[in-house]
Symmetry: C2
Subunit: 263 residues, 2 copies
């Protein structure tokens, strides 16, 4: 299995504190030593960082620990290889452009029989992971709907996620840089931070952060992670087998379809 | 205008020496201060590095100057913005997946009336540069030919390049990770290095490199750059308005079509 980290914010955020904790899960001696990747949206712009070295040791991970890389949405992945060798083409997150927007995807799981998921040929895996094949399959389906409608995308993820979860384990993060979607067939955790901000102690690194100093008063952001990153009491378990959407740091309500914002 | 750096090698190469020289062209006070990007293929794997800070000053450029990032093919770009604001979505190199291979593209130039180049909709610009629009147009045409045939790709680039050069200036690098294609409507320079290796003095950085120590005996690699990077006497001007292809460090002969290797 792997480790996932997602973030959605209403203004560009410095993620070094979270990264310094999360990267420790990519231990040099632990199981998650098969590389890592971080996809960063800064509004409509995107860049990413991939390395085959363990996140706990990699010089590129050091760079991310020490340098502010402003992010409004972030998808991080620490890999323990099962399907696919340890090569860059098998290192999450994966991206594809569709309709002028860049879609970014990271998965934790294992999908037995993924080769049977039909692909149109518009999107083709570069590597040999189950997750990239599933991503291409999902993109084919996304190409048929109004992707600016978050509720429609989430509904599609419900359907696709059910099928994928039935093939094993499907925990995934997906974003177009505006909305961050998460799907969990095994427990994932999330929290939303907003003023008044408290203090966070990172469980993996022991580092302490005074969020009131770190964040602007108006900042709202959500973290999604396999296991909680900090000692804050407000971590929640993600709903099982149901896509959840976040935009500008806030969870979008799904129970009342109409409260989804559009555009 | 911008600055381009291309590299093709027959085995993974450490490009820090060349990068330390090239990055100086992205001067903090000079005209090329509008960010940079480097796309790196390691065989069939790919990752890239983009930043909006000047290459001469950026912490990410420092990382690339100090850390070995093994590359078999590389495309670097230092930006002086004309079309498109200074944002990540306007920062070269750009990439798209087609048929399971990642195509990477960087351009130096200016294309008047680029909006008139028709796009099928399969590939859509994320940003607002002339070059990304031209890249999407080129990909549409590439989608119609056998892209494993380097001669066919180069012939297509001749035709497309002629049209683009007619719109202003079109200097470009394009690669699928196996073959590196270059097109120059204004002077670009290239050199191929092989054993017996000599000594190179970088013109921008003053740094000296003993290539015999730096390169394995069997290594062959080609550099392509707007202006020569070193004092080596073997720099040549690229042929004007004619696509040139390189694979595994060697220039592929175009005068006799049959000598192009395939696959």
């Amino acid at each position: 299995m792997c480790e996932l980290l997602g973030m959605s914010a209403n203004a560009a955020l410095d993620l070094r504190f979270s990264w310094r904790a999360f990267r420790r899960r990519g231990g040099g001696n632990g199981p998650h030593r098969d590389g890592f990747g971080v996809g960063v949206y800064r509004d409509d712009g995107y860049h990413d960082f991939h390395d085959l070295s363990p996140a706990a040791e990699s010089p590129l991970a050091d760079f991310l620990a020490n340098t502010i890389v402003p992010a409004t949405t972030l998808l991080g992945h620490i890999r323990q290889a099962n399907e696919g060798s340890i090569e860059l083409q098998n290192t999450y997150p994966f991206t594809r452009e569709m309709g002028g927007r860049l879609w970014c995807y990271a998965m934790q799981g294992q999908l037995a029989g993924y080769e049977a998921l039909p692909l149109s040929g518009r999107f083709t895996p570069q590597g040999s992971t189950d997750g990239e094949h599933a991503f291409c399959w999902l993109l084919d389906r996304l190409s048929e709907i109004d992707r600016s409608d978050s509720a429609a995308v989430a509904a599609l993820m419900d359907v696709c996620g059910e099928r994928l979860a039935g093939m094993g384990v499907f925990n995934a993060l997906l974003s177009d840089g505006r909305t961050l979607y998460a799907y969990a067939s095994k427990p994932m955790h999330w929290l939303t931070r907003r003023a008044p901000f408290g203090v966070a102690n990172a469980l993996d690194s022991g580092e302490r952060l005074d969020l009131a100093v770190h964040c602007d008063e108006a900042n709202v952001h959500t973290l999604i992670v396999t296991q909680p990153l900090t000692d804050e009491p407000c971590w929640q378990v993600m709903p099982a087998n149901r896509a959840v959407a976040f935009r500008a740091g806030e969870r979008l309500t799904r129970d009342v379809h109409e409260t989804f914002s559009r555009g």
